[in-house]
């Protein structure tokens, strides 16, 4: 092109002065524009707090059974007492305490499950994307296989085989969910590897390690955080589902799924046994979905544009 000698990009000027206050201001405007994201984060924080402070919030031991107190309705119903605000279950255990403690199980499964899935997936995906060729095909074959299978079915299958324990559930989710992390990581690594940006860095003599940390990792963070949020929300669902089928943690452990399974037996007579765990799941899931949506809007296009 004739006059390409000095065509600078118009927005190169924008790389100017972005101090800390500017960034904070920017973040504030982002949050305000998408208030639902804030609501979601708020809801999620509530759940996390409840889980963390459970022993202090709950009035009773979630495992303590008092058959004489069984099936008391919630406090605002006739026959209810404020000592058991959400009522009690068939073994006299306090529903409020169980619901709060149930958050612990769900969040633990969600968090560690995603952690394992993400780490495993990232490593696999990065290897596949970085080396390409036959290694890529070899790795992505089984990955795509797992991704195209009816997930629920096989999770149930495996859970049925392995037996009920928290560790099993975490492992199952961690391993079965890693393919999606692997695929996303691989996609990003491939995209960046092919980009002219990295080519020039390589030709300028940058070492492999630098390339990974300066270029690949920042571009991965955005999509992965978003993915992690959604997958964690899904895991909480799945854990509850497994619990419902009697395949999650052992029956005495207060998990929302277990509580739902139990409550089902008394559905028409004592509906509160199912209402509260269900609402808890819904509340947590909503919060995470809202937060995840917001994160996706915020992190994805920004990071991509900034690090071209």
């Amino acid at each position: 092109m004739a006059s390409s000698a000095f065509i600078p990009k118009a927005d190169s000027q924008l790389a100017v002065k972005r101090g800390f206050m500017d960034r904070l201001n920017y973040l504030w405007r982002l949050l305000w524009r998408d208030r639902s994201g804030v609501i979601g984060l708020f809801m999620f924080s509530l759940v996390v707090l409840a889980a963390a402070l459970a022993p202090f919030i709950a009035r009773h031991d979630p495992l303590a059974q008092r058959l004489s107190d069984s099936r008391i309705p919630p406090a605002w119903d006739t026959g209810g007492v404020w000592d058991h605000p959400f009522g009690t279950d068939s073994l006299g255990r306090d529903m409020f305490s169980r619901t709060i403690f149930g958050a612990r199980v769900s969040l633990t499964v969600g968090f560690f499950g995603v952690l394992i899935a993400a780490i495993l997936g990232m490593v696999i995906g990065a290897i596949a994307g970085y080396f390409g060729g036959r290694i890529d095909a070899l790795i992505m074959g089984p990955i795509n296989l797992i991704l195209s299978m009816p997930y629920l079915l096989f999770v149930v299958f495996i859970a049925a085989i392995l037996g009920r324990s928290l560790l099993n559930v975490i492992l199952i989710f961690g391993i079965t969910d890693s393919p999606i992390f692997a695929r996303v990581t691989r996609g990003e690594v491939l995209r960046i590897r092919e980009s002219a940006y990295v080519e020039s860095a390589v030709s300028a003599g940058a070492r492999w390690g630098r390339i990974v940390f300066d270029h690949i990792v920042p571009n991965l963070i955005g999509p992965l955080i978003t993915l992690a949020t959604f997958e964690m929300s899904a895991m909480i669902f799945y854990e509850a589902g497994l619990g419902f089928l009697g395949l999650s943690v052992p029956p005495s452990v207060p998990s929302w799924g277990n509580m739902l399974a139990e409550g089902r037996k008394y559905l028409s007579s004592n509906p509160w046994l199912t209402t509260f765990p269900g609402l808890a799941i819904m509340f947590t899931s909503m919060g995470m979905n809202l937060a995840g949506d917001w994160l996706r809007d915020v992190l994805d296009p920004r990071l991509r544009r900034a690090r071209k």
């Binding site: 004739a2 990009k9 118009a10 000027q13």
Partner: protein, 334 residues
Amino acid sequence: MSLILEVRDLITKFYTLDGVVNAVNGVSFSLEEGETLAIVGESGSGKSVSMMSLLGLIPSPPGRIEGGQALFHGAQGTQDLLKISTKELNEVRGGQIGFVFQDPQTSLNPILKIGDQISETIVRHLGMSQSQARNRTVELLGEVGIPDPQMRYSNYPFEFSGGMRQRVMIAIAVACNPQLVIADEPTTALDVTIQAQVVNLFKRLRDKLGLAIIWITHDLGVVAGLAERVLVYYGGRVVECAQVDDLYEYPAHPYTVGLLNALPRLDSRESRRLVSIEGTPPDLLTPLRHCPFAWRCTHAFKRCWQEIPPLYPVEASHMTACFYNLEKGVVRDE
């Protein structure tokens, strides 16, 4: 020769998360019937935005046209393009003013046949039946140089090369015999050899149909063979406007001088280094109250930082927005 388009003080802004981008800051110009006007400027200078504003093609949540008027003296009488209703604008778009976009790859609908994308505007504006429109489309395809037009009518965009796709875009733009065609960097995405062919195509169509053309480009070389008059854009403003030859021989604005100096010349006797202009284009987020080029101008003095220079006449139909008289080497006296 009568005027076909008069634009006065066009202002377009974009309300983004980063702030308000002042993309077009008071652009004025006129265009005569059958005239070919080139608009030259770098990326971000507002050239595309100003033309798209005329036809209401700016995406309206972030973008807003905030001022000015654009009088179009068309076959239907005179209308202010910025103020008429969408319904009326739809009569003008495609029917009286055609637009050729920059990237033929993405500007054609990938799942519709090429011929269909041309004939739909014919049906819309010329009121022909489907089969009549089809015949005319086949003719058009031949006109723009697509071989075997009968068969090609039913092809999809992915079956065409870049150059051919751009010819299709041109066919779409001229299908309804418009009075004006605005071409936004139509050759930028094409190979150099194809560029020349496309420019020739435009010339042929212009002569045959009596088209007025506004040709947006950042490449002064392409302009030379086609345009009669040139507008130079900088920072969302017109900083110089002149006949083509005058611009090349007697550029009156320091930016234009810089542009010309940056062009490699095959015909220069001495070897000469390519001179680039120091600095970067203005950040359009801050509204400027001084000459947008002041930072990079080697002749800038106090006044340049205090007011926005209006367009001053240099000689017949040659204007420049600069307080400095380049030719004489002194500050301009009013």
